[in-house]
């Protein structure tokens, strides 16, 4: 006696074909809904995770500002790019800012002595340092990361004393095989704008 085929039984050809059509329809509907959902969501590109403000130094303006940005590599292209974005955005708010690349000849990360000389000679009031701290490790097997942990610090120019700092998480373009890629233009602008807004809140802008 052969096996009895029952309509609706999981192993029956009829049920299998029926359920397959249903799965295809459901899958297309699901994919469409998901695409619409993702398209409608606009995620922030930078989030602030921690801020610190010296209790000994009250609100003060930036004044003339020297901007230094560097990453885990000694002065890669990403640092110069971020410095330029900083200077441009600060200029829009009327802050007189210059990037360290204007004074650097070798493109390396400067020592404090070199920084101090420039700060004194050109009478800067503030040193703004943006530093890439680390990456978020998301995949178990790939060091690739799209999220950078960035720290932004403000120093008093005469004493090199930190009086304000902020940690944030920002998007980078994908990178592979150890090569760090720069943030996209929109992401860099949003990062700088987010930090400026936080500075304003804390009265250090």
């Amino acid at each position: 006696m052969g096996p009895m085929v029952q309509f609706g039984a999981p192993n029956s050809p009829v049920a299998s074909r029926f359920s397959r059509v249903g799965r295809i329809v459901n899958r297309k509907l699901g994919v469409t809904l998901l695409c619409c959902f993702f398209l409608s969501c606009n995620s922030p590109r930078t989030i602030v995770t921690d801020t610190w403000h010296s209790p000994l130094i009250t609100a003060r303006p930036l004044g003339n500002t020297l901007v230094l940005a560097y990453t885990l590599f000694p002065r890669p292209i990403i640092g110069l790019y971020v410095e330029d974005v900083w200077v441009e955005q600060l200029g829009r708010y009327g802050v007189n800012a210059l990037s360290w690349s204007n004074f650097s000849v070798d493109g390396k990360v400067p020592s404090m002595g070199e920084l101090a000389d420039v700060l004194t000679e050109y009478q800067f009031d503030t040193l703004l340092v943006t530093q890439l701290i680390s990456f978020k490790h998301l995949n178990r097997d790939v060091s690739n990361s799209q999220v950078a942990i960035v720290e932004t610090r403000l120093y008093l120019a005469p004493t090199e004393e930190v009086y304000w700092s902020l940690q944030s998480e920002s998007f980078l373009a994908n990178y592979v095989m150890g090569e760090i890629r720069r943030p996209r233009e929109g992401d860099a602008l949003e990062y700088v704008e987010t930090v400026i807004q936080e500075m304003m809140k804390d009265g250090v802008f």
Binding site: P10, Y70, I149
Partner: protein, 514 residues
Amino acid sequence: MEIQTQSPALPAVLVVFIQFISSSPANAQVYVEADQLMKVIEAQQRQLEAQEAQIQRQKADLEALRQQVEELRRTRSPSPSMAPAPTAPLPRGNSEPVERVELDDLRDQIEAIHKAIPPGSLPPPRARGDPTLPEQADIEELISSTPTDWPGSIPVLGSPMRVKISGFAELDANYNLGAITSLAEFATSAIVTSDRTAAEGEDGKTNVSAQVSRLELKARTPWGGRQIENEIAMDFLRDSSVTEPLLRLRKAYGQVSDILFGGDLRFGLDWSTFTNLTASPNTLDYEGPNSLLFMLHPIARWIRVYHPTLTLEVGLDAPDQRVFQNAKEVSRWPDFVVAVISQTDRVNFQGSFILRDLRGSGEPQSAVSDTGWGINLSGVIDMPDRLAPDFASYSFSYGSGYGGLLNDAPPDAAYDFYNNRLEAIPTLAWYLAYQHWWSPCMYTVVTHGQVQQDNLDFQAGFSFRETQYSSINLTWTPTPHWLFGVEALYGTREDKDGAYGSVWRTQFTSRISF
């Protein structure tokens, strides 16, 4: 105004005046009074002289003091090079003297601020001068110590070598609704299609495991302009059908850079050259899509970067872990693999080809073989404009006799008893994944994959025919080192004879890395 006490005119005038008065015989009383007046005047004169002497002595003392002060100034005056550095500016006007009361107030305020900080909270990043912390190095030290192309590594004293220890502790808890024999991983080929039992999870089963936790040790040593790189990695996933942790060697390789025709050489246990790890989606499920090429082998690989956007890899993979139906593996030649990798600003692409000598022992005992081959196109595409930074991962594989390299590991070949031959099985595998970022600390990955085999006539009815894998997750990374999330997975398996099974799985994952 200075009084001229030494002028001789005043006493002379007084004497003449008195003599004139006393020459008058009519007033004898006047003589007496004049005599007394003279005595007073003489007394005053002496007093004035004494005062004058005292003033002179005081002037002399003052001059002496002035000279002493000048000498002290000359002896304590510093040289310009030894001038003390200007002190750090105080938070208020530092030119005014600060009253003790005000200082006490400031101390009280600082104390109140310290008390307001929650215990265990992080110190201000890179802040200097916090008395509760070890003195932070100044910015010069900080900057000079930070730049490295290998963050997290530490130098080995007395050696140019740097080492890095990393890994993670991961807890996976999943609940299955359906029979599946793979507990730690969602291997859709392990879905039971017939005679499902409660022991296999048909009525629901929860599994909790930490098997995928991992320990990695890497080392880099410069060697005459080249670099030697080593990696040893271990986890506890020797058997994914149980939840007990069993130690497994994952990776053990060494690599020398720029050693042959301008390329690097790698020897040891590592991913197959056929694999494109960059294209593996971020599923919480450890295995990932069923169609992912994910095989660890002993390998020998030559890697040459011709351009930052173009890399060529040629490798020999060990002929192990073959999956034969009704035959035992009797390998002869290693697998030959060639892969071309292109990485541009928005697109990662790898095209790879594998050639395999499939050799087994059937019944009667004789070695039989067939040639297997496979081609894989895979990569990552970063989404443009408004959809950035989302990205899509994809993989498309086709070939005959390469199925065992896939996550689901369907048979590479099947043995035909009647004709005493081993025949490679054609296999098609693909997946598509999309990662959407809700914010830099939260994302969702949607994945769908399929593996399909074109069954041979002589294969048994229970043979693998098709599996499907679908997943969606929500993952949160509150800190760079902590990831956790939930994932819903759905998988199906269909056999050659039409037997069908499906499983729903929900998974919670916490991964803390170091």
